[in-house]
């Protein structure tokens, strides 16, 4: 383990065929804070995502085959764990998360008041994000379920925009769902005793490509995530100490 890294922050960016967006995503993170190491996890893209990210100064982890968003993100958490980073942030490779909001996400980590900070679109009721009705209901239902099962009010469980301290990195490196991970991961974090805090963020519309959610997939999504939540609330998770090491 690289001890001098403990004070450092790594940005984990999962990407699958995001050649048009990935360069800017990397640039914006480095522009926000040049001291943040950017790690792009390339989930077996068939385009030049990996090479582009590398050319923009990111470290690239190349997955041999497509493992899905959760498996890709977890590769980044494992990298953070093994390289000894004290803090990690995670942003999507399509550019929907605004790197200039990283300061808000990292603030509770830096003051030691939270282990996991989620960038939520619904902390303020007057946030600008207005998803289609179906998705809005889905987001609400899962937020409500996780709040009940996890014992803390959570407003946005489907957000992939988050920051972690070392405790959070250790948890997610060891335990992270492989597909559609965000909702279940939030519950796992709460049940493991992580201190969760939420900050209001805005998310941009996708700049390129299209959302991977189709009707059949959203049906699978609802069923899979519901089952995962049910099982996760029956499992035992060792309580991790919230205190920072």
């Amino acid at each position: 383990m690289n001890l001098e890294h403990l004070a450092r922050t790594v940005a984990i960016v999962p990407a699958y065929n995001e050649v048009a967006a990935i360069g800017r995503v990397v640039d914006e993170i480095r522009a926000f804070d040049p001291a943040i190491d950017v790690v792009v996890v390339d989930d077996a893209s068939t385009d030049d995502t990996a090479a582009t990210a590398e050319a923009h100064g990111a470290t690239v982890l190349r997955l041999l085959f497509n493992v899905g968003i959760g498996g890709a993100v977890q590769t980044g958490f494992r990298f953070a764990l093994e390289e000894g980073y004290g803090r990690a942030v995670r942003l999507d490779g399509d550019g929907q998360h605004d790197a200039s909001e990283l300061g808000k996400l990292l603030a509770p980590i830096e003051t030691g008041t939270a282990d996991l900070v989620i960038g939520s679109r619904f902390v303020d009721s007057n946030g600008s994000y207005r998803p289609p009705l179906g998705r809005r209901i889905g987001i609400r239902v899962f937020a409500w379920l996780v709040s009940i099962l996890g014992g803390q009010r959570v407003t946005d469980t489907t957000s992939g925009f988050l920051a972690l301290d070392r405790v959070g990195i250790e948890l997610f490196a060891a335990e992270y769902p492989h597909d559609y991970p965000e909702v279940e991961a939030t519950l796992i974090a709460l049940r493991s005793g992580l201190r969760l805090s939420q900050v209001q963020v805005d998310m941009r519309e996708r700049e390129t490509g299209s959302s991977s959610i189709t009707f059949v997939r959203s049906l699978y999504y609802m069923v899979k995530v519901s089952l995962a939540l049910l099982v996760a609330s029956l499992r035992r998770y060792p309580r991790l100490t919230g205190a920072r090491r």
């Binding site: 190491d37 982890l61 590769t75």
Partner: protein, 123 residues
């Protein structure tokens, strides 16, 4: 009472199953740990086919009064469900291990690359 012909066919079929499984193990095309449930299936069906009084008695316990060989079908179905469920758990384990391997390779490849050519620090 079970018709004699049904019993004979049952014995032949379960013997055939056992022989095929043994042959697959011998040819190293099937691992012993995945063959055990199949062999158990064959053995149970063989016993129930050959021992006609036992099949009758069990049918009586289960309330199958009309046609005792129905118990054979029920037992065979139950075992096939067990085998399939077992395979689903094996498949899940393999999937997890596969993802973990891909993750490990990605991390190791990056480490090899950074040893060859140290990472450029982000200023």
């Amino acid at each position: 009472m079970t018709p004699l012909r049904v019993s004979i066919i049952g014995v032949v079929a379960s013997l055939l199953l056992i022989l095929v499984v043994l042959e697959l193990i011998r040819g190293r095309r099937l691992k012993e740990r995945y063959a055990l449930l199949w062999l158990a299936t064959g053995a149970v069906l063989l016993v129930l086919s050959a021992w006609r009084e036992a099949l009758n008695t069990i049918a009586g316990w289960l309330g199958v009064t009309g046609y005792p060989p129905a118990v054979l079908f029920a037992v065979a179905t139950l075992f096939i469900l067990l085998v399939l469920l077992h395979y689903s758990t094996v498949l899940s384990k393999l999937t997890d291990e596969n993802v973990e391997l891909a993750q490990r390779i990605a991390l190791l490849e990056e480490r090899v690359a950074s040893l060859r050519e140290p990472r450029i620090p982000a200023d």
